[in-house]
Symmetry: C2
Subunit: 124 residues, 2 copies
């Protein structure tokens, strides 16, 4: 088994703390079915090297994911996924359509997300 860094991408200059980005990226990989229950995560040292961040930053992300019950450490072995929920294909398809809509209308992604958050929270 090897790690290319999987689909995990971070942006050090986005303003969002890196450890939170790592958490979100791993959750995303799981939801998209790229990682499933029982799968082993990249070792902390490896992921840190691949992402160009410090080990402690990856560890912080892993520890928080463990606290949330998403993954589980096994001392001396590695971290494993313990909880996996998948997104429906239709929903994923709709996300793609939505992304296309935004691009076609030249809507800035950050602004769209800000509006989306407001709408999502207000209509509850």
């Amino acid at each position: 088994m090897w790690w290319s860094a999987m689909g995990i991408r971070i942006d050090k200059h986005s303003g969002v703390p890196v450890y939170i980005q790592i958490m979100n990226q791993i959750k995303k990989e799981i939801v998209l079915g790229r990682m499933k229950e029982g799968d082993k995560l990249p070792p902390t040292r490896d992921l840190a090297r691949m992402l160009g961040v410090n080990i402690n930053t990856v560890l912080k992300a892993y520890e928080r994911l463990q606290f949330e019950g998403v993954i589980q450490a096994q001392h001396g072995i590695g971290y494993f996924i313990t909880q996996a929920s998948f997104i429906k294909k239709e929903v994923l398809s709709e996300i793609k359509n939505f992304a296309r809509l935004l691009r076609e209308n030249n809507v800035d992604l950050l602004i769209a997300i800000t509006i989306l958050e407001e709408v999502y929270k207000n209509d509850k």
Copy 2:
């Protein structure tokens, strides 16, 4: 003219720097047409008090928005909007539909946004 804080909401514990949240919120208000070119922004001191943050944090947001050309300071008078672009009604409508879809399918907003970002960037 008064300031209720307008539609500007921030979350101190979201991990995203507050001054960036303020920037995004103001851009959002403009795009939604709630503020238009020439409109005066809340004074730094007032917005700081309304949001429960320090003046310097608001100032940092305003200064960056000015650097981006969105707003313009007039010494002793206030900050004014210099650049306004609007979102199409159809796009806003689609954002609302999208938010509804996510809620109906119990999709976590953060994860949805993470997937959206990936799709948006990859399909370019």
